[in-house]
């Protein structure tokens, strides 16, 4: 039996611009390879065009025989001509594809995040929220198997999951670890982030980081942020941090470069005020960092609470101060989290080799 992972973002197999859905697709493909004869990624042409319509000269894409682009007009033929296979959908945007596939194939719906919650936090129009609520309900009702990203997401969507709730399989987000060759660099840097979403606020964290790093010129730190406008509450701290001799600011890196930077870091830090969305969300930045072996500093009371059999680092619900940050960094530098990180690595490995995700599909 073949398995097709339906992508709405490019997986690392073909692109250097990798976001959470692309990493999730790679994870699902790795898990599916344990069960199926052949696993391929498939993307609709309209989606491909949208992603490559950016104003950049190069798209960082490469061809691969396991990455298929299907023209929307021929979707019905593509689906009809295949032997019964498994189609995995991770995004509600793939509604048309879902409708075609579920007619004669086994369909898996993988809920990576609550789309409707994100839309509400992003002040989307009510009718847009309604559209996705309806789709979510239909995907859950009609899918042969439903996967969720975290137990907290399962709690949040308990009502929608309804009678399927007991059949839902928890499949935590776990990127495939990068292949390492050559010497392992010393982990003597830290990496920290500003807010990524409009509804997250890292101002208090960045203020504390600026205070802390101004007293630690010996500690090299990568700071991943775009430059923000004056009105943004984070901008003052970003300006302060940008002027420090031990801080390297960057906006975003390609996937291979990001992996190299992570391999140099003893710790990755990202804290934002907990709101409705944070409480149930997981963090791709931090999950990737753990996968590469860096200790974490983040929020308590988020979707990551049930990950790794315990947080490999420190987390807090209250605004961090320099004392809290200093204690964490000192412990990370001394290797105090090594045991937690080993446990997290084993936990990740178990997730990637979990055969119940796609087991039993005939």
């Amino acid at each position: 039996m073949d398995c097709y992972i339906v992508c709405n973002m490019f997986p690392p197999l073909v692109s250097d611009v990798v976001r959470a859905p692309g990493l999730r697709a790679q994870q699902l493909a790795q898990q599916a390879e344990l069960e199926f004869d052949r696993v391929r990624y498939v993307m609709m042409k309209s989606r491909y065009d949208m992603l490559t319509k950016s104003h950049t000269v190069c798209h960082g894409l490469r061809s691969h025989p396991d990455f298929i682009v299907v023209h929307d007009s021929y979707l019905h033929l593509f689906v009809a001509r295949l032997e019964p296979s498994v189609f995995v959908f991770t995004q509600l945007e793939m509604d048309a594809f879902f409708k075609q596939a579920q007619k004669r194939h086994y369909v898996v719906y993988d809920m990576l995040a609550s789309k409707t919650l994100e839309l509400r936090c992003g002040n989307a129009k009510p009718n847009q929220v309604e559209i996705f609520e309806e789709r979510q309900q239909r995907f859950i009702e009609q899918a042969d198997r439903v996967l969720v990203n975290a137990e907290k997401l399962q709690e949040l969507e308990a009502e929608i999951l309804g009678r399927h709730r007991d059949e839902v399989i928890n499949n935590p987000f776990c990127p495939v670890p990068p292949k390492t060759d050559g010497d392992t660099p010393a982990r003597d840097h830290i990496l920290f982030f500003s807010a990524a979403q409009p509804w997250t606020n890292n101002a208090a964290f960045l203020r504390a980081m600026a205070d802390y790093l101004s007293d630690r010129p010996d500690l090299p730190a990568y700071f991943m942020t775009s430059l923000k406008s004056h009105e943004n509450p984070e901008s003052i701290s970003i300006s302060r941090l940008q002027q420090m001799p031990n801080v390297r600011q960057m906006s975003a890196l390609s996937y291979p470069a990001h992996q190299v930077v992570l391999a140099r870091c003893m710790a990755a830090m990202d804290w934002s005020a907990v709101n409705d969305e944070r409480r149930y969300s997981t963090s791709t930045r931090l999950i990737q960092a753990v996968g590469s072996g860096a200790a974490l500093f983040g929020n308590a009371d988020t979707g990551l609470d049930n990950y790794w059999g315990g947080y490999p680092g420190a987390n807090t619900e209250t605004e961090p101060d320099t004392q809290v940050l200093g204690d964490f960094i000192d412990k990370a530098a001394s290797g105090a989290y090594a045991g937690d990180l080993r446990r997290a690595a084993d936990w990740n490995k178990a997730v990637l080799n979990d055969r119940k995700i796609f087991g039993g599909i005939q």
Binding site: C58, L61, Q242, N246, R248, A252, V260
Partner: protein, 266 residues
């Protein structure tokens, strides 16, 4: 041939430059800049946005005296007001470290203080750093025009890691926005983009197989058209290579033209 020196006299004295204590009346200074063929700026943080229009026209040495200077130069580069070419150089004085971590982009254009006297007494404009063969006689204005065109482009969707061949190292500021670019060599990162002469493309791609884009600064001539250069590059690798854009510069004497060829690999 006149060299204008801008900056405080104490620091000029430390660098062995003529005394700048005498304050030139603004109208006389303005007149002097009309005949200026090169400029030394001590403390570029003191310059305003308009000054960079002048600096982009003539070879310049920017003397960076503290971290604020670096931040200001970075800000002007980021905003597209300042283009640094092989005719320009950066000189660090009174600074504790080489700023290789926070500002690795300064490295391709660093100058030692002993070279400053040579720059001031230069009789003809010539690059201060190694350049590819055939680029020696290109004036700064030509390179700046190409840099302006290149800056209008967005090469990739992220901050690229740029690798260069040794001869193209000093062209970093011409082919990309240095303030948003990671320097592969200085920062020990795998390059996403490589800037190289076409005949070095094969060696560079073999050394960096993960690279996804190639920038080839070339001088197109009647006996070396784009098609011939394209053949050299496309045969340099086993994977598909697509010429995405040709960024033309101004026409040069003898039917030549400076251009940047941008390829996507894979």
């Amino acid at each position: 041939m006149s060299c204008v020196i801008v900056g405080p006299s104490e620091q000029a004295g430390q660098l062995g430059l003529p005394d700048t204590t005498e304050i030139t009346p603004p109208e006389a200074f303005s007149g002097a800049t009309r005949y200026m063929t090169r400029v030394v700026v001590i403390g570029p943080r003191l310059l305003n946005d308009k000054d960079f229009e002048l600096i982009n026209r003539v070879p310049a040495v920017l003397v960076l005296t503290n971290a604020t200077d670096i931040l200001h130069v970075e800000m002007h580069i980021r905003a597209g007001r300042l283009h640094l070419t092989p005719h320009d150089a950066l000189l660090l004085v009174d600074m504790s470290g080489p700023a290789s971590f926070t500002a690795p982009w300064i490295h391709p254009l660093l100058l030692t203080s002993t070279d400053l006297a040579g720059f001031i007494s230069q009789q003809a404009a010539q690059p201060l750093h190694p350049v590819p063969a055939g680029f020696e006689d290109l004036p700064k204005a030509t390179m700046t025009q190409v840099a302006t065109q290149m800056r209008k482009l967005s090469l990739v969707q992220f901050d690229p890691v740029l690798g260069t061949s040794p001869a193209c190292r000093s062209l970093t500021g011409v082919v990309c926005n240095m303030a948003n670019t990671m320097m592969a060599e200085v920062e020990s990162l795998p390059p996403d983009v490589i800037c190289t002469e076409p005949d070095q493309a094969e060696a560079q791609l073999a050394a960096h197989p993960g690279c996804r884009a190639l920038i080839c600064p070339v001088i197109i001539r009647a006996d070396l058209p784009v098609e011939a250069i394209n053949c050299t590059v496309t045969t340099a690798t086993q994977v598909p290579v697509n010429l995405m854009r040709v960024v033309p510069g101004p026409r040069l004497p003898q039917g030549r033209m400076l251009a940047c060829l941008i390829y996507e690999i894979g």
